[in-house]
Structures are given as structure tokens and as C-alpha cells.
């Protein structure tokens, strides 16, 4: 029995040691794995960042190139517009449309007195009375009489 125990004890110790070793190796492996994973993640992040920066940089450059192109096109359009509006061209077109250059004899100056209106003349004057709608002949006669003799009732006369 004791021999059996004596035989088992070292086995257990060995097992323990083996188990311990195995645990240590597993922990180490796990540690390494974690480290590698971290490195991989960091590497991936770094690569992503740098490639993203590079991509954005190239986009910026591309947009700058597009801006330059648009500016050039804009200048070209400005030039076309300015050429289309050049005086020799406008003159030619006007002549084709039978326009002739104005000379002083063609110009008649119209003097509009009190224009622009001075401050005094811009004061508000009484508005005209609203026109009255008359529906019947009787009403018209009554109104005419009232207008004719109304002054008498106000103590005024012509």
C-alpha cells in the first residue's frame, strides 16, 4: 500500500509538473497569441490609417486638378463671353439689325419740371373721393338736387 502510495506520489508530482509546464506553455502561447493579435490589429489600423491618408491625399490632389480644370474652363467661358460682347461685334450686330449710331440731332431732351420731385412737392395731398355708384334714376335726381342746394343748408352759396 505504502509502495503503491510511494509510486503514485512521484507520478502525481510529475503530472503536476507536466501540467504546470503545460499551463506555462499554454499561457505563453496565449500571451504570444495576444501579442501577435495586438500587433496584427495595430498593424491593420496603421495600414488602414496610412492608406486612408494616402487615399484622401490623392483625392485632394485629384480635386485640386479638377479645380484647376474648372478654373481653366471658367476662364475660357469668360473669354468667350467677353469676345461675344466686344464692341466691334456688338456694332456689327447692331448694324445688321438696322440700328444707326445716335447723333445729337436724334436726341430730344425732355425737361420734366420738378423731377426728381423736391421735398415740398412730395407732401401727401388729399386723395380723390371714391366714385359713387348710382343705381336708379330717382337716386340720381336726389343726389343732383342735394349737390345743387346742399350749400344752402351749410350756409354757403355761389
Amino acid at each position: 500500500m505504502s509502495a503503491h502510495v510511494a509510486r503514485q506520489r512521484p507520478r502525481t508530482r510529475k503530472d503536476k509538473r507536466r501540467k504546470l509546464l503545460w499551463l506555462t506553455e499554454a499561457q505563453a502561447a496565449l500571451g504570444w497569441a495576444v501579442l501577435l493579435a495586438l500587433a496584427a490589429v495595430l498593424g491593420a489600423i496603421y495600414l488602414h490609417q496610412t492608406s486612408e491618408i494616402a487615399r484622401v491625399g490623392r483625392t485632394v490632389q485629384s480635386l485640386q486638378y479638377q479645380t484647376d480644370e474648372v478654373k481653366r474652363a471658367n476662364s475660357s467661358l469668360e473669354l468667350d463671353i467677353a469676345r461675344a460682347q466686344s464692341l466691334p461685334r456688338l456694332k456689327h450686330q447692331a448694324e445688321q439689325m438696322k440700328f444707326v449710331p445716335a447723333v445729337s440731332d436724334n436726341i430730344e431732351y425732355i425737361v420734366v419740371h420738378n423731377y426728381p420731385p423736391s421735398q415740398e412737392s412730395t407732401e401727401l395731398i388729399d386723395p380723390l373721393p371714391e366714385p359713387v355708384v348710382i343705381d336708379t334714376a330717382a337716386e340720381a335726381v336726389l343726389r343732383a338736387l342735394a349737390a345743387r342746394f346742399g350749400d344752402l343748408t351749410r350756409g354757403e352759396s355761389e
Partner: protein, 567 residues
């Protein structure tokens, strides 16, 4: 392991050892011996100088009409290594580029990585090449100034060379403002580094005081006069005497600013500000102003005109060598008498005379904002080229030299109550979203308001009684003719003259002043028969374009008030 295997292992190990040693030595040589060289090489490959060039500012007239814009010429190039159909390309390009086919074919078949077929072609030629649809033919834009109005305002605008440097006119004077600021940065083009945008500061835009329509009318009139009189050239300037703003400035012959390199160097100068001439009798206005303002004479002062007066021992004659008898100052100006001008100059004496001349801006640039303005020549007492005779001759515009702008500005002081305004061409500068506006600047007040009014009245009388060609129906014109001899090789040319006229209107409240100067007219030498009618014809158009009604309309109280408010 048997001995054979051991030997082979030894050989392999030795080989590997040698290889490692070689690698280590090579690495050491890279690190120690060639470190700087390799670092430079690395920088050269990775670092790239990125330059952003700003667009040059555009130039507009006072109403916003575009006078100068940016465009592009193109460089035509190819990379021969990518060319497969060189025969076909050469055949198509030869007539467009105007080059022999074999020359283009030779370039297309060369061993170079890139070949420039044509350094600079116009946009039209580039468009033709583009229409061929050859991807291998590269068209690189090269900035170029474009002038949509053609030759209009050529001397004032000036030109810009292929290095984007303004060479004359406004382009030269406002080079710093127009060109903007180039942005440049040394950038790492490695894909692993951030690419930062390089943005240049754009050039400022200029808005001129020039009215394009007025300028066009002026140039048309100048062309017509030169053709009709067989003159060599001429200059017309239109200015607002109240502010000094130039409304038009034209000189002929002109050049195409786009093709400036084909023009004679002489043509690149702006004669209105860079070329001097003896002004002749127009100068009598200034002499008379000096005499009136200094109290030497009054309009009623008289002198006896015998047809000749000796100044410094040299005789001075009238233009027609006639004697005019007793003349007052108004008569002196109306008949344009040299004898009278020389007489009152001697009455004033050199100190007073030259003091006034200098106050009117002679002998120094006026400071107009255009390139290459010259100050003229005014010999003064004490100078080697001055003699007492100069007092007499200078009084009627001989023996001194001025620019057309100087002459116009001096007379404009008489039209502006005695104030000499600094002439200017740029009304506004638009820069970085801000607008900088130019305010009129008074240079000096050479004469009093009273003197200016007296002179104006005398100049009105001169036009009314003697210079019929300068009159304009419905308007009161003040002015003076000039017929100047041309000094060549120390003597005056026997027949050629410079005919000129300076006039302003409406005389009581001037809105414009004009100088017409015609060089060497063939039909007549006189300012009264060449320049004065040209002034009248031009003024007839200007009063319409600038909305100046005839006196009988303008002087009505209501109209005056309205125009005053508008101004």
C-alpha cells in the same frame, strides 16, 4: 553524418558565411560610405516640390466689361515609347503644327522618354489636335493673357510675358497685385505620408476708370483723323478734370498685346505718358495763368504787338510773322500770339515763370498708375541747357518737353478751379473678397479759383472767335490749339509739326477735358485745322455717351439740381 556530408556542410556554411560577410560589408558601405548620397537619392525620389500658381487677376472697365482675362496656350508633347502609329500621327500633326512631316516622325521615333513637338500653340491649334483623339499626344496648358477686345486700350493695358511678368502699362505697374502669391511646398509623395493641398493666393482684379465705350469711340476717331490727315500717329486722352479719372487714353499706332513679341519695341511704350514732345501754343494757357495769378497782368492788360520781340538777343515772331498792334490778354490768347506770350513771360521773370510751371506739374512724373511714366524736360536757370531765350520760347511751348498727359493735367487744373488732380486709371482693386476704392487726390493748387475762371473765360473766347473747328453746337467749349515744331538733330524740322488741341466742356462746369495730339499730319500742319475739328467730332459723341445735355437744357434749374444730386 558521414565525412562527406560534413565536408558538404562545411562548404555550405563557408559559402553562407561569405555571403553574410558580403551583405554586411555592403550594408556597412551603404551606411557609412554612401549614406549621404543614398539619403539624397531617397529624398529626390520621395520629395517633390509642388507649386500652385495663382490665376492672374482680370481687368475690367468701369462698367464691368472684361478687358483682360486668363486663357491658356498649350505645349504639345509625346512619349515616344507609347507611340505605335507614328506614321499616322506625324501625317496628321504636320499640317496643324506647320512642321515638316519627317521632323515630327523623327521625334515620334526617338529614344527619349518625352519629346516636345511644339513649345506653345494657340487654343485653336490645341483644339484641332484634341479633335484628332490621339491619347498619346499630350497637351499641357500654359497660362496666357487673353484680350477679348483685341487691340482696344493696348498701351494702357500693356502686356504680360511668358514668365507671367507684366512688361508695360497696367500689367507692369500692378504686377504685384495682379500676379497673386505662388504657393510652393516640398511634399513627400510616398503613399504612406499625408498629401497636403497647396493653395495659392489668387491675383487681385482691377476695375478701371476707363469707359470701354468711350475708349472705343476715341480710338475710332483717332484712326479716322490719322487716315484723313496722313499723320504718323496720335494720342487722345479724355479725363474728368474734377477727379483726375481717365475715361479714355488712346495712342496709335498700336499693337496686339497677345502678340506683343512681334511688335517693335518702340510701340510697347505708351506715348500718352512715356513720349515727350514740345507742346507749342497750348502752353500759352499755362503762361497766361501764371501771369494772371501772380498779378503780373489782368485780362485787360495790353501790350503793343509789333510782330517780333527779342528775348535773350534772339527774335521771337508770331506764328504768321504778322504784327497785331495793341492787344489785351484775351486777344493774345485768341490769336495765339507768340510775341505776347514771350512779352508777359519776360514781365514775370524766370523765377515766377518756372515756379508756376513746376507747380503745374512739369518736369516730374504725375504719378499715374501706369508703367514707365516720364517727367518731361524743363531746363531751369542755372542748367547747362538753359539760356535767357528759354523764357521767351518756353512761354509758347518751345524749348521744353512734356507728355500729353502732363499737358492735359496742367490745363485740367484751370478747368477745376485751380486744383491739379493726380490722374489715375484704376478705380477699384478687388482682393481677397475686399474692395479697395481709389479716392481722387489733389496734387497741388497752382492757381486760384479766380484765375482759373478768368482763364476759362479767355479760352471760351478763343474758341468762340478763332477756333471755329472746335465748337460744338449747344455747348460752351473752352480750349486752345497748339502747333509745335519738331526738333530733330538740334534743329526744327522744316515742315513737320505736332498739331494739338486741348478743350473742356461744359466750360462753366467741366465734366470732361480732352487732348487731341496728331503727329506729323500731312494735310495741314495746324492744330486749328487738324486737331480742333477732331476734338469737336469726338466731343459730339462723348456728350451723348457721357450723358451731358446741351447748355440750354443743363442750365435749367431743375436739371442742374438733379445732376448735382446725381454727381
Amino acid at each position: 553524418m558521414n565525412p562527406s556530408q560534413q565536408r558538404r556542410l562545411l562548404v555550405i556554411c563557408a559559402g553562407l558565411f561569405i555571403a553574410i560577410v558580403v551583405v554586411i560589408l555592403r550594408m556597412l558601405s551603404f551606411q557609412l560610405l554612401s549614406a549621404d548620397q543614398i539619403a539624397d537619392l531617397s529624398r529626390t525620389i520621395q520629395l517633390h516640390n509642388v507649386t500652385a500658381r495663382p490665376a492672374r487677376g482680370i481687368i475690367q472697365d468701369r462698367n464691368g466689361a472684361v478687358l483682360v482675362v486668363n486663357g491658356s496656350d498649350y505645349q504639345v508633347g509625346v512619349s515616344p515609347t507609347f507611340i505605335e502609329n507614328s506614321e499616322e500621327i506625324a501625317t496628321d500633326l504636320a499640317p496643324i503644327l506647320g512642321k515638316p512631316r519627317h521632323e515630327i516622325l523623327g521625334a515620334l521615333n526617338s529614344d527619349e522618354t518625352f519629346v516636345v513637338l511644339e513649345g506653345r500653340v494657340s487654343p485653336d491649334v490645341a483644339e484641332l489636335i484634341r479633335s484628332l483623339n490621339y491619347d498619346q499626344v499630350q497637351l499641357d496648358p500654359l497660362p496666357r493673357r487673353m484680350y477679348p477686345q483685341g487691340e482696344l486700350l493696348c498701351h494702357v493695358l500693356g502686356y504680360v510675358d511668358f514668365e507671367n511678368q507684366g512688361g508695360s502699362g497696367l500689367e507692369g505697374y500692378y504686377q504685384v497685385e495682379l500676379v497673386g502669391v505662388v504657393a510652393s511646398r516640398l511634399m513627400n509623395i510616398s503613399p504612406l505620408t499625408e498629401q497636403i493641398g497647396v493653395i495659392a493666393r489668387e491675383g487681385a482684379d482691377l476695375v478701371l476708370t476707363i469707359d470701354r465705350t468711350v475708349q472705343y469711340a476715341v480710338e475710332e476717331h483717332l484712326k479716322r483723323v490719322i487716315e484723313e490727315t496722313g499723320a504718323e500717329g496720335g494720342t487722345i486722352i479724355v479725363m474728368d478734370p474734377r477727379t483726375g479719372a481717365i475715361l479714355a487714353m488712346a495712342s496709335l499706332p498700336c499693337y496686339r498685346p497677345y502678340d506683343y513679341y512681334d511688335a517693335d519695341e518702340e510701340l510697347l511704350l505708351n506715348p500718352a505718358v512715356s513720349k515727350q514732345y514740345e507742346p507749342g501754343s497750348v502752353m500759352k494757357l499755362i503762361t497766361m495763368a501764371a501771369a494772371l495769378d501772380s498779378g503780373t497782368v489782368t485780362p485787360q492788360t495790353t501790350y503793343e504787338d509789333t510782330g517780333v520781340v527779342f528775348v535773350g538777343g534772339i527774335p521771337v515772331y508770331n506764328w504768321d510773322r504778322a504784327a497785331y498792334g495793341t492787344q489785351d490778354m484775351t486777344g493774345l490768347l485768341a490769336h495765339s500770339l507768340n510775341v505776347g506770350a514771350a512779352t508777359i513771360a519776360t514781365w514775370m521773370g524766370p523765377d515766377t515763370l518756372y515756379n508756376y510751371f513746376q507747380r503745374f506739374g512739369y518736369s516730374r512724373p504725375l504719378g499715374i498708375d501706369v508703367m514707365a511714366e516720364t517727367g518731361g524736360q524743363l531746363p531751369l536757370p542755372g542748367d547747362a541747357n538753359w539760356t535767357e531765350t528759354n523764357i521767351g520760347t518756353n512761354a509758347f511751348g518751345q524749348g521744353l518737353a512734356v507728355t500729353p498727359l502732363q499737358m492735359l493735367s496742367a490745363v485740367s487744373a484751370l478747368a477745376n478751379e485751380g486744383y491739379l488732380m493726380q490722374p489715375y486709371l484704376v478705380q477699384e482693386i478687388h482682393k481677397d473678397g475686399q474692395v479697395f476704392t481709389r479716392e481722387p487726390t489733389i496734387i497741388s493748387r497752382p492757381v486760384s479759383k479766380q484765375t482759373a475762371y478768368q482763364l476759362t473765360a479767355m479760352a471760351v473766347n478763343a474758341v468762340r472767335t478763332e477756333v471755329f473747328g472746335a465748337q460744338l453746337e449747344g455747348y460752351t467749349v473752352a480750349g486752345k490749339t497748339g502747333t509745335a515744331q519738331i526738333p530733330e538733330g538740334g534743329i526744327y524740322h522744316p515742315s513737320d509739326t505736332i498739331a494739338s488741341f486741348i478743350g473742356w466742356l461744359p466750360a462753366d462746369d467741366p465734366e470732361l477735358i480732352v487732348i487731341v495730339k496728331i503727329d506729323r499730319p500731312k494735310t495741314s500742319p495746324w492744330g486749328s485745322t487738324v486737331a480742333a475739328p477732331a476734338f469737336s467730332a469726338l466731343a459730339e459723341d462723348l456728350v451723348i455717351l457721357l450723358d451731358i445735355p446741351p447748355d440750354e437744357i443743363r442750365l435749367q434749374r431743375d436739371i442742374l439740381a438733379a445732376r448735382t444730386n446725381r454727381g
